[in-house]
């Protein structure tokens, strides 16, 4: 049936004398491409709307007076197309266009970063003339100008194809960069005061004039990648290498749960740049700047290269051999496990490594005290709330991959709660925007305000005071209406865990409306850690700890005696920290956790100090390693093979990029410790782990979702507000260390307050506002935003605003506000 329909939609045309069938509306250039006929082009990009800007793809079409641009010409029945291969007219037209394009091109290929991989270079060779007839002065512009701290623009090289401006408008929605001026002075630029007769600094750099708007888009790196000449280049890769120096390895991004396919280009054991890989099912051809440019943490100077052991005599960490450190770790854990050892894994692990931790905890340490959630996991509330998120994950997420990017794209409507897609899962944001822009997807956001990301999605807002989301999901008519269409999706962020009853309400809402639900965590390893059992109530494969048959299945798979696996659900991250701080734990095994990410960093550090034995598996020196008794260095993502599981539950496997590295995976290190404790863990090789995970039977048991009642919203008094907070994409995260130019494109941290609060505090945009709790204070410039009454928003971990460390609270808590900087008098007044 579809075949018949398809046939009705096809046309027959001839290209270079070959008859070919094509779908109606298809572009001639695409049909030719399918036939293996390469027509030169610059502006054409399959994911961008046709523009016909560069005119390089001219072909002859019979019956047309002049050659036509094949990138904008749609096919028609009986069309006869002749490309440069069969038509002298087309060939001459293309050569002419090339000559015109090269008139003002500086031909500085030896200094240009694009040299060697440049479509203009290649096509000038294939379709251009050997010499130019133009002997006059070329147009000159100032050599590269920084249009953001990360992106450089060299207007002399530009051929005005508008790929960058079309990307920014159509895909990212950030109209920072555009065509400006007219005629021979037409150029790509960002808005600069001096350019428009305003007061600039005159040295051509952006950001120095008062009204300059730099190209601070989270997706600006894609314009560098798709620029067909060297007009847009990245600061970080500038002059570092040539394409023939580089070895390109496919890999997966280790930052967020989007699971982007990437290409890492490396030279002499060092990654020099990363590009978006081409995966139509996931990231299409895009990625975000964090994934593209945030990779220097792996070569930071504080990388730990050798094991460290705390010397009993001096009390200081000293370098030790692997065998000494492993014995120290094994003997310490042997003693500590009698009183219990907690395992905190963080969200940066590959599936294989997370599985190793989960297995290590159960088989070697005999505990279920393992948690991957390095973040606030609940509002401090009633006992029912304690296990709410874990129960929700067990019931609705673990082991399920129901919703994909394609489903989100084809959905009629999406409800987003506890998630700011642009900041927390940028590629999901691009997919949502693609559908929203096409007009097929209606986005509804349950959030305190319409952020820039939501505005770009043209989202409808259900304004929510933090803590009130559960009630809204349960009762708000707009929420129910948003999910009424069949095929609607409900996207839930990890932040909803801190709303009492929020996840229960989301599960209930999905069940009630039939909407498909997806849980979108923030880190690349979160979903994998969940599915491999790094949770106190779940075993690998989403098996409930409390289910005897699930434990029996696993006992067989792991070849351990039935009944030896711990049956009682363990402690979650907050309880592990509290137990350690209270002296109830014999030891902690910590992999890649930054205490600053936890709900209470001060308590976490106290726990790390208090715990008798602390083993840290880390990449770089951190607050954990400096307190650890044994530090074992592990490999960063580029130096190991592994798999990330993205938010869809899709496995994103990758191989080692830097093969010369001798760094070991977490799984390999844990296997070595286990061997010293007479257990064969068999997690040293990713292939064997993959085999073991693949051979595991599917879990049949699935618990019921939690049913926690919605909590009450905090009631702030005068000069106080309920805190809303989430992470910005580019912030102070440890994986962004050392990328100063990237940090330069981050959104400036502000404190967002509503009009009413601003009136109370007598502040206007840009005035400093201080948010304070008993722990400390955060002062940022105010941005007056359309927020609900008595809500204040702060970035969670941006410069000047480490909410968890400085305020010791999370979203939903009440903070006191005052205008100006935190002075002693103000602080006193507020404490009264």
């Amino acid at each position: 049936m579809t075949d018949v329909a398809k046939r009705a939609d096809t046309v027959t045309l001839t290209i270079d004398g070959v008859e070919v069938q094509a779908e109606k509306g298809e572009l001639v250039i695409r049909v030719a491409e399918r036939m293996g006929i390469a027509i030169p082009r610059f502006c054409d990009h399959p994911l961008l709307a046709p523009a016909g800007a560069c005119r390089q793809c001219l072909v002859e079409v019979e019956g047309q007076r002049k050659p036509v641009a094949s990138c904008t010409q749609t096919v028609a029945e009986g069309m006869v197309v002749k490309t440069q291969l069969s038509s002298p007219v087309a060939a001459k037209a293309q050569a002419g266009v090339m000559e015109l394009l090269l008139i003002n091109h500086p031909l500085d290929c030896p200094t240009c970063d694009k040299g060697g991989e440049c479509p203009l270079q290649n096509q000038a060779m294939s379709t251009g003339r050997a010499d130019s007839r133009f002997h006059e002065q070329k147009r000159e512009y100032e050599k590269p100008i920084h249009i953001s701290s990360q992106v450089l623009l060299d207007r002399e090289r530009c051929v005005l194809c508008q790929r960058c401006t079309r990307f920014s408008e159509e895909i990212a929605g950030d109209k920072f960069i555009d065509l400006m001026d007219r005629s021979s002075g037409e150029q790509i630029n960002v808005y600069r005061d001096d350019f428009f007769g305003g007061e600039g600094t005159g040295d051509g750099q952006v950001g120095e004039g008062a009204g300059d708007v730099p190209f601070n888009s989270y997706f600006s790196g894609n314009t560098v990648q798709i620029c067909p000449v060297g007009a847009l280049t990245g600061e970080q890769y500038r002059f570092r290498a040539r394409p023939f120096d580089l070895v390109s390895s496919p890999t997966t991004c280790e930052h967020c749960a989007a699971g982007c396919s990437m290409r890492a280009d490396h030279r002499r054991g060092k990654v020099l740049r990363r590009l978006a890989g081409d995966d139509p099912a996931v990231n299409e051809e895009w990625n975000c700047d964090k994934g593209r440019w945030g990779f220097r943490y792996a070569t930071a100077t504080d990388r730990i290269t050798a094991p460290l052991v705390r010397d009993p005599r001096t009390g200081q960490l000293r370098e030790a051999s692997w065998s000494e450190a492993l014995v120290a770790a094994a003997e310490g854990l042997r003693t500590a496990r009698q009183r219990g050892v907690g395992v905190l894994t963080g969200g940066r692990l590959t599936v294989e490594d997370a599985y190793a931790y989960a297995k290590f905890a159960r088989v070697v340490l005999g505990t279920n005290d393992i948690d991957f959630r390095a973040r606030p996991v609940r509002a401090s509330g009633s006992p029912a709330e304690i296990t709410e998120e874990a129960d929700f994950l067990a019931a609705a997420v673990a082991g399920i991959s129901d919703l994909t990017y394609a489903d989100v794209e084809s959905a009629p409507s999406a409800l987003i709660v506890g998630l700011e897609p642009e900041e927390e899962c940028p590629i999901l944001f691009l997919r949502l925007r693609k559908a929203a822009r096409r007009g097929t997807l209606a986005v509804t956001a349950v959030a305190p305000y319409l952020s820039r990301g939501f505005e770009k999605l043209a989202a409808a807002l259900v304004p929510a005071v933090p803590g009130d989301e559960a009630r809204l999901l349960g009762t708000d008519p707009a929420v129910a209406a948003a999910l009424s269409a069949p095929g609607s999706v409900l996207l839930v962020g990890e932040r909803l865990a801190t709303v009492p009853g929020g996840l229960s309400a989301a599960a209930a809402l999905a069940a009630r409306t039939g909407a498909r639900l997806a849980w979108v965590p923030r880190r690349a390893g979160d979903r994998g850690a969940l599915d491999t059992g790094c949770l106190p109530n779940l075993l690998p494969g989403g098996r409930p700890v409390s289910d005897p048959s699930a434990r029996a299945e696993l006992s067989i798979a792991w070849a351990v005696e039935t009944g030896t696996l711990p049956s009682k659900p363990g402690r979650d991250v907050d309880q592990i920290i509290a137990a350690a701080a209270g002296g109830a734990l014999g030891g902690l095994l910590v992999g890649a956790v930054d205490p600053g990410d936890l709900a209470d960093p001060a308590l976490a550090e106290q726990a790390l100090d208090a715990v008798p034995f602390l083993v840290s598996l880390e990449l770089r020196k951190s607050a954990v390693t400096e307190r650890a008794d044994v530090v074992l260095p592990v490999a960063p993502a580029v130096e190991k093979a592994g798999t990330y599981m993205d938010w869809e539950g899709r496995l994103r496997s990758f191989e080692t990029v830097l093969r010369d590295s001798t760094a070991m995976t977490d799984g390999r290190v844990l296997e070595a410790i286990a061997a010293l404790l007479e257990v064969s863990l068999n997690t040293g090789d990713v292939r064997s782990v993959r085999r073991e995970l693949g051979a595991m039977p599917a879990s049949s048991a699935r618990p019921e979702p939690p049913a926690v009642a919605a909590g009450a919203v905090a009631e702030p008094g005068e000069h106080a507000a309920v805190l809303a907070t989430w992470h910005q994409l580019l912030d102070l995260g440890t994986l962004l260390d050392g990328d100063e130019v990237l940090a330069g494109t981050a959104r400036p941290p502000v404190v967002r307050i509503g009009k009413e609060l601003a009136g109370q505090l007598r502040v206007t945009d840009g005035d400093p506002v201080t948010a304070r709790t008993g722990r400390g204070s955060v002062t940022l410039p105010a941005a007056i935003t359309d927020l609900p009454r008595q809500v204040v928003w702060l970035p969670t971990n941006s410069p000047g605003s480490a909410v968890r460390r400085d305020l010791g609270v999370t979203a939903g808590a009440v903070v006191r506000l005052s205008a100006g900087l935190p002075g002693p008098i103000l602080a006193e007044g507020a404490d009264r």
Partner: protein, 210 residues
């Protein structure tokens, strides 16, 4: 033929050689002079003000069939300028254990920065020493030249350095030959020279040093 005439014939050959031109050279006391276009070790030339001609484009490395050249580019800034224009070679290495002296790198060089001298005494006692870096390869500073980094002295922009440069021998005169290649226009006893190239001062030899 009898044996007697045979022996005389043999001695005749030996005897005749006594009157021929001697092919033995008195190396190392008077090293032979290679042809002017002999492919010897490389020189990285300078502009007349001392700025490096090399722009770190890596075309030499690209052209090299023996993979003997390693280059990493760097960014010139107004404070730290090594060459005219935006880019310079932060790292430049030629590995003489690999180099086959074919000269393709010279042909590839777009700024005529890389040329070859006539020096052929390249024996070293370790492989490491055969990797020549910018320190060894850069031409010595001639009078009027200034050790980079320094601002452009010969013009406002890099174009002033390049337009007409290839037809103007003055910009590379003196730098194309190394003083130690015996044919240099430069006095090898110049102390400034030794200061800038201490590690290659060894093979410097004057005409008829024997």
């Amino acid at each position: 033929m009898n044996t007697l005439t045979g022996s005389f014939k043999g001695f005749g050959v030996t005897f005749a050689h006594m009157f021929r031109k001697v092919v033995t050279t008195d190396y190392p006391f008077s090293p032979p002079k290679p042809a002017p276009r002999y492919h010897g070790r490389h020189i990285l030339n300078r502009h007349p003000d001392g700025l490096e001609k090399c722009i770190g484009c890596e075309l030499c490395a690209w052209a090299c069939p023996a993979d003997a050249i390693y280059v990493e580019g760097g960014d010139n800034t107004d404070e730290q300028r090594f060459s005219p224009g935006e880019r310079y070679a932060k790292i430049y290495q030629i590995n003489y254990t690999r180099c086959i002296f074919c000269g393709l790198c010279i042909e590839a060089c777009p700024t005529r920065s890389l040329t070859m001298s006539n020096e052929y005494e390249l024996a070293r006692d370790s492989r490491q020493d055969l990797i020549f870096t910018k320190k060894e390869l850069l031409a010595p500073l001639l009078p009027g030249m200034e050790q980079p980094p320094h601002p452009m002295r010969l013009g406002e922009t890099d174009k002033d350095y390049y337009i007409g440069a290839l037809t103007n021998p003055g910009t590379s005169a003196g730098a194309e030959r190394a003083p130690w290649s015996d044919q240099g226009t430069h006095d090898a006893s110049d102390p400034a020279d030794h200061a800038s190239r201490p590690e290659t001062a060894g093979p410097v030899r004057k005409e008829g040093a024997a």
